[in-house]
């Protein structure tokens, strides 16, 4: 004979497992999406923003990637916590029995049975059971005899995964927004460094030769150096030279067809030139490249670009070589030229000039000739003094004329005749009573000024009629007796006039 308590216990475990899985499922999609985005950030970048001419700086990419890893880890942790909580909450024997009761439409018989047969009940509660409990036990057996908890509580993940997908969408949108905020148009150095890294990756991916791998590492190091603002240009150039040198050695050893390095030295402008030749579709092609020029005192060198002929049409129309080594050499040459150009254009530090404000200045030297006069400190009467110019700055203190609506309406003086300074901001408005209107008397004791505010127009659509003032000899224009707009106390006054001090004590 089946034991209904055991059956309910199994059902409880099943409900707890399903609840835990369903709760944990909420975190699956966000975690997977965040992890996938973090791992695929570089390919995504190449497919999107890099294609559109933007670049995500490596340190920013690292931050974004770390954030995505953190989101993935957080989602996994949250899912685990949710699953654990759901599992523990669902372990309640009576609550599980209630679910079984509902599933079997047992009209709370199983629920009541479970409440009275809960294994965690103390002995007093068990002995205080109703004499009818035996009958309830038999009925519970009858109800639970063919109960299959797996069938009654199937694991359906549709809803959790749907909601989880929404969360994943939120993560993806957040990543897109973050990437949009972090990407920038690359500087030339960054573009070259990115290209160098790409070539290095290509070499590493296609070659197993240790020498090639060394060159790839060299290129990566050069890219890092190129982007590092703390490294001085000389060191960057040296790194690039090293990389180029290694590449040349490699190419020589390999008997490569493409080569060309130009170098210049001395104090004059140096220009490197190189020539290369290659096979393109069976036709001989030639390409010319020129290195960067350098007019500084440093030794200049240039690397010629090797171009592959395009159907023998010549170097100018040649397509960029698909050989990674050649491409690498070209990029290195570009990088070097860029650095040299930047170094030339950047202002040289002047050692005689104090560049830092925090550094102490040079004290005046003591004169060598004691008889020699020092610099004149008196004004030279023969030279004209500084006269203010009537330029734009001279108009700064002139009150604006109608620059704003408020100031345009301000017909009074800022000073008035009291010479007490600026008119204070308006406060404590009081309104004169209309004819027949009753209210508190005006209290204008100590009033500083009186404002007049006139309605600024008739109410639109308020009616009225045109009146010809025939009694007035000069009135030729018809006027309208339409109601005027109400003006509020908070509105700026149309006109204000200061109360002269001599009258103030007279007003009560």
């Amino acid at each position: 004979m089946p034991n209904p308590v055991e059956i309910l216990g199994r059902a409880r475990n099943r409900i707890a497992q399903v609840a835990a899985i369903r709760a944990g499922a909420y975190a699956i999609a966000p975690a997977l999406v965040a992890l996938g985005l973090a791992l695929a950030l570089s390919p995504i970048g190449r497919a999107t923003w890099m294609r559109w001419g933007y670049m995500l700086a490596p340190e920013r990419a690292a931050i974004l990637r770390d954030a995505l890893y953190a989101i993935a880890a957080g989602a996994v942790a949250a899912g685990a916590i949710l699953a654990l909580r759901a599992y523990r909450n669902a372990l309640d024997f009576v609550a599980a029995a209630e679910q079984v009761d509902i599933a079997m439409r047992a009209r709370q018989e199983i629920l009541t049975f479970a409440a009275l047969a809960d294994p965690e009940l103390d002995e007093d509660a068990k002995t205080a059971r109703s004499p009818l409990f035996a009958l309830l036990w038999r009925r519970a057996i009858g109800l639970l005899e063919h109960f299959d908890s797996a069938k009654a509580f199937p694991l359906s993940l549709g809803r959790p995964l749907a909601r989880s997908s929404m969360l994943a969408g939120v993560v993806a949108v957040a990543m897109i927004l973050a990437a949009m905020g972090l990407v920038r148009p690359p500087t030339r150095e960054q573009a070259i460094a990115a290209r160098l890294r790409e070539i290095a990756r290509e070499i590493e991916a296609t070659s197993t030769d240790p020498t090639d791998r060394a060159i790839a590492a060299e290129a990566s190091a050069a890219a890092d150096a190129l982007e590092n603002p703390k490294i001085p240009p000389q060191q960057k150039i040296k790194k690039l030279d090293d990389a180029m040198h290694d590449l040349q050695q490699e190419k020589k050893g390999a008997g490569g067809a493409n080569k060309g390095v130009g170098a210049g030295g001395g104090n004059q402008a140096a220009k490197g030139q190189g020539k290369g030749s290659g096979q393109g579709g069976g036709n001989q092609g030639k390409g010319n490249g020129s290195g960067g020029s350098d007019k500084s005192n440093q030794a200049g060198s240039g690397a010629g670009k090797n171009q592959q002929g395009n159907n023998g049409s010549g170097g100018k129309n040649g397509k960029q070589s698909k050989d990674p080594a050649t491409d690498l050499q070209n990029q290195l040459a570009d990088a070097k030229a860029q650095i040299e150009s930047d170094a030339k254009n950047s202002p040289k530090p002047d050692t005689n000039k104090i560049s830092d404000d925090n550094q102490p200045g040079n004290a005046p030297r003591t004169g060598g000739n004691p008889d020699k006069k020092g610099a004149a400190t008196k004004p030279d009467s023969t030279r004209p003094g500084n006269v203010p110019k009537g330029d734009a700055a001279g108009k700064q203190n002139v009150p604006p004329t109608g620059s704003s609506q408020a100031s345009a309406k301000d017909m009074g003086s800022n000073l008035g005749d009291t010479h007490l300074g600026e008119t204070p901001p308006a406060a404590n408005y009081q309104r004169y009573l209309k004819p027949g209107e009753k209210g508190a008397a005006l209290d204008i004791h100590d009033a500083r000024y009186v404002m007049f505010r006139l309605p600024n127009g008739a109410i639109v659509g308020a009616g009225g009629k045109n009146v010809i003032d025939s009694s007035h000899p000069t009135a030729t224009t018809a006027y309208v007796n339409a109601p005027l707009k109400e003006s509020t106390d908070q509105a700026a006054p149309d006109e204000r006039q200061l109360v002269p001090p001599r009258y103030r004590d007279l007003i009560h």
């Binding site: 009576v94 509902i102 009209r107 009541t112 049975f113 479970a114 109703s130 009818l132 009958l135 309830l136």
Partner: protein
């Protein structure tokens, strides 16, 4: 017949259902229609409660009560409440008697000393007289001149009141209303039922009620069945459901719905919750179960609580009934779902 104490639970439950069903049928032979009122009346009897029946005159309220008492073999007394009715007319009084040459006061029990007491038109008596029934209803005892007399169980008060005559009536105080397990409203009979009533009451044929229990053992038999009602089990979540319902019906109570706060002055007392559980237990037994379900509770809510809610002036002005408020409460209360 009757359930022996040593009978198995199945037999006891079956006996209860059989007795209840027979009683319903017997009363139904006299009263046409009003099956729900008959069921509530018997439910109150087996729950150990009292019932207030409200309806216009001529619906057979008195006949129904007498038929129920006769069916179960219980003693029956009827009190017609009038404005000049005194408490001693109900409870009884000390009467000076002479026996063996000695004069002494002897207690002469009033009509309240019966198993089933019908208080007809209870709202016609003064509050003083109405309150004379309070102790009997709650304590099942009366006190006269300092002496307490027990009322023999089972004891049940069936009170009727007429809702249409308000002049010269004294509405039952809240304390007394609270002592009724149910308040049942009797409606007018349907045309078919009315035709059957005419056929039964205007012809020569008269239905004779067959008592289920012998008068000598009826009280004991019914007490045994009442004890079975008390043994029916209620799970804790269902008790919490009832508590939540009481809270939702109490203005300012936990979970009170807006309609309750708007239209009620007072909510039900704990007696309301007790009444719901007892009547739900009877409902469960009648369904052949020994444990209460949510349906049993919902079925008992309106008759158990409708007279325990005190409406405010706004509710009376807007003609908002307690039944409609209870309906809203039942709709809002959450039951567990799969």
């Amino acid at each position: 017949m009757g359930a022996a104490p040593q009978a198995s639970p199945d037999q006891r439950v079956a006996e209860f259902r059989k007795t209840f069903s027979r009683a319903e049928q017997e009363v139904g032979r006299v009263i046409v229609g009003h099956q729900d009122v008959i069921r509530k009346l018997l439910t109150a009897l087996f729950s150990g409660g009292h019932i207030l029946i409200e309806g216009v005159p001529g619906l057979g309220k008195t006949l129904m009560c007498k038929a129920a008492a006769d069916t179960l073999g219980l003693s029956f007394k009827r009190i017609q409440f009038t404005p000049d009715l005194m408490p001693s007319d109900i409870i009884g009084t000390q009467v000076l008697t002479e026996s063996d040459g000695r004069r002494e006061f002897q207690f002469k029990p009033g009509p309240i000393f019966a198993h089933v007491v019908l208080g007809d038109e209870i709202n016609r008596a003064t509050p003083k007289t109405q309150s004379a029934v309070l102790e009997a209803m709650e304590e099942h005892q009366v006190t006269v001149f300092g002496l307490t007399y027990r009322l023999e169980p089972p004891y049940m008060v069936l009170a009727t009141q007429n809702p249409i005559e308000l002049e010269g009536t004294y509405p039952l105080p809240e304390a007394q209303m609270d002592r009724f397990l149910f308040k049942v409203v009797m409606g007018s009979p349907k045309p078919d039922e009315l035709r059957e009533i005419l056929s039964r009451t205007t012809g020569t044929r008269a239905h004779q009620i067959e008592a289920i229990f012998k008068p000598a053992t009826a009280a004991q038999e019914i007490e045994t069945l009442k004890s079975l009602v008390r043994e029916v089990m209620v799970a804790e979540p269902l008790e919490r459901y009832i508590i939540a319902m009481i809270g939702a019906c109490t203005p300012g109570g936990p979970g009170a719905i807006p309609e309750v706060s708007q239209y009620l002055r007072f909510g039900p007392s704990p007696r309301g919750a007790q009444a719901i559980i007892l009547s739900a237990k009877v409902n469960a037994l009648l369904a052949g179960r020994v444990s209460v379900s949510y349906e049993d509770i919902d079925d008992a809510v309106v008759p158990c609580l409708r007279h325990r809610l005190l409406r405010n002036f706004q509710a009376e002005a807007e003609n908002v009934t307690t039944e409609s408020i209870l309906e809203q409460v039942q709709k809002r209360l959450k039951r567990p779902r799969a």
